[in-house]
Amino acid sequence: MQELKTNPLRNIVASIIVFVIIPIVLYIGIAFLGDRKFYFISVTIALLACVPFFISLEQKRTQTREILLIAVMSALSVAGRLLFYLVAAFKPVAAITIISGIYLGAEAGFLTGALSALVSNIYFGQGPWTPFQMFMWGIIGFIAGLLAKTGIMEKKTALILYGVFAGILFSFGMDVWGVMSLTGIFTWEAYTAALVTAIPFTITYAVSNVIFLLLLAKPIGEKLERIKKKYGLME
């Protein structure tokens, strides 16, 4: 697995976002937006959280091959989402993002997830949910990449467990948005109610993740390993 290189510009921007911009967003939201503050703050923070990853993408500008690998993985998951658009919640997007995270690294995993959300919404329609989907799928790929560095993801049980976890994480994350857009404020009662009503979706997410991971992890993984070895990528 690749090493996580320290990236000075990305780290600087990330710390500016965490220590300067997010407090300003919190302040503006609480001071001026009254009961819309939760909505404003959450949408903005979801967007801001993606910024450091896109900065590291910008710095890859000369590594055309790496950029294109990320584009191919995103295109695969977008095509998958289009292919399965009739079956609600049953999508290979998270699974392909996870595979991308495992074999191409945590950063590439995040980018694959976030780009899949952004590009597939060009077909399905953009909306205030886009930043949340970008962040949720991104973080699913990112965590997969971090776990893969420990070598644990090579075990089938770990893969299955992570697929279930990713389904639950996605559902829990998107319900935060759902609660705030439907009731305007975030209350734990409303959140639990949303989680309970979303159980069929959560199960479908988890099941589809596991199925697609088991079907795709080996063929995609082997081919990514091969292409990495053949052309010396991601080193």
Partner: protein, 293 residues
């Protein structure tokens, strides 16, 4: 919106960020209603009868979302009746309706956005600030139809060797699909490397490269952009003064109609109707030019 569409992408983008942002974050009944009405007007201009035919979906959505809030929230002073010892209040119902109206307005504005800000405009706009990001999006968008075409070709070739995914038992079908996918993937990855090398050979990533685009920033863009800016700032100033503040709980705060309140309502209406006004102006100009000939 044939004429509004022709404006520079940055004008369009700023307009939508401003309108959708204000719609999303101010829960004042007048502001929400104005935005909703404007969004309905824009949609009916853009999609015409097609929009009205599907309007029952939005009515259902509205009712569905409006019902949720009084079931969850029991705040408010005007109690209508009790369900399981929980008060159902006028305030909670009104808040639910306001939220539902706001969500519908955002949804309808995004429909206008999706129709007006096509992906080429989006990529052009972000290609300046985040070139690699825009490049990846544009490559991904291009790869999707390419994959579809390639899948068709692979499927046909596979049929000739007996790997038809449409016949045989379920196991054979799954095996054939996985096979097709695996071939697609190998092809896609090798193709990727080739594309990347070709890009490099053509000088991608070198400094001082120019890009081609059909968009020109003209005087009319400056005018409309500054109009959008002034009207947005006007609305935000109104918000600082407290014009957008409205409380549903514990009970409704009054909606005022002093001269300055009305002024800010008018400013917001002007912002919302800007594309319609541009459209009407163009049509009027076209007609008056025709009659002179």
């Amino acid at each position: 919106m044939k004429s509004f569409e022709t404006y520079h992408p940055i004008v369009l983008f700023v307009y939508f960020v401003s309108v959708i942002g204000i719609t999303m974050f101010f829960m004042h009944p007048i502001y929400v209603s104005l935005s909703f009405l404007a969004a309905v007007l824009m949609n009916s201009i853009l999609f015409g009868a097609h929009f009205w035919k599907r309007s029952w979906v939005y009515v259902l959505l509205f009712l569905g979302m409006a019902i949720i809030n009084p079931l969850i929230s029991h705040n408010g002073e005007m109690v209508l009746f009790y369900v399981n010892h929980n008060a159902v209040t006028v305030e909670a119902i009104a808040y639910g309706m306001a939220i539902a109206l706001m969500l519908l307005a955002v949804l309808l504005w995004f429909k206008v956005y999706n129709d007006t800000m096509t992906s080429d405009k989006f990529i052009y706009l972000f290609g300046r600030i985040v070139p690699v990001f825009a490049l990846v999006i544009s490559i991904t968008l291009r790869l999707v139809p390419l994959f579809k075409r390639q899948i068709k070709q692979i499927t046909q070739a596979q049929k000739t060797i007996g790997m038809d995914y449409a016949v045989g038992n379920i196991w054979h079908r799954i095996k054939s699909i996985v096979h097709i996918f695996s071939i697609l993937l190998t092809w896609a990855l090798e193709n990727t490397i080739e594309t990347a090398d070709a890009m490099k050979a053509r000088g991608y990533g070198l400094p001082k490269r120019t890009t081609f685009s059909l968009f020109r920033f003209e005087l009319r863009d400056t005018i409309v952009l500054s109009l959008i800016g002034i009207l947005t700032i006007g609305t935000v100033v109104g918000s600082f003064i407290g014009n957008t503040t409205f409380y549903f709980y514990p009970t409704f705060s009054p909606i005022e109609f002093n001269w300055y309140n009305v002024l800010f309502y008018i400013i917001y209406t002007m912002l919302l109707l800007l594309p319609v006004v541009i459209e009407l102006k163009e049509r009027w100009q076209w007609r008056s030019l025709q009659s002179k000939i």
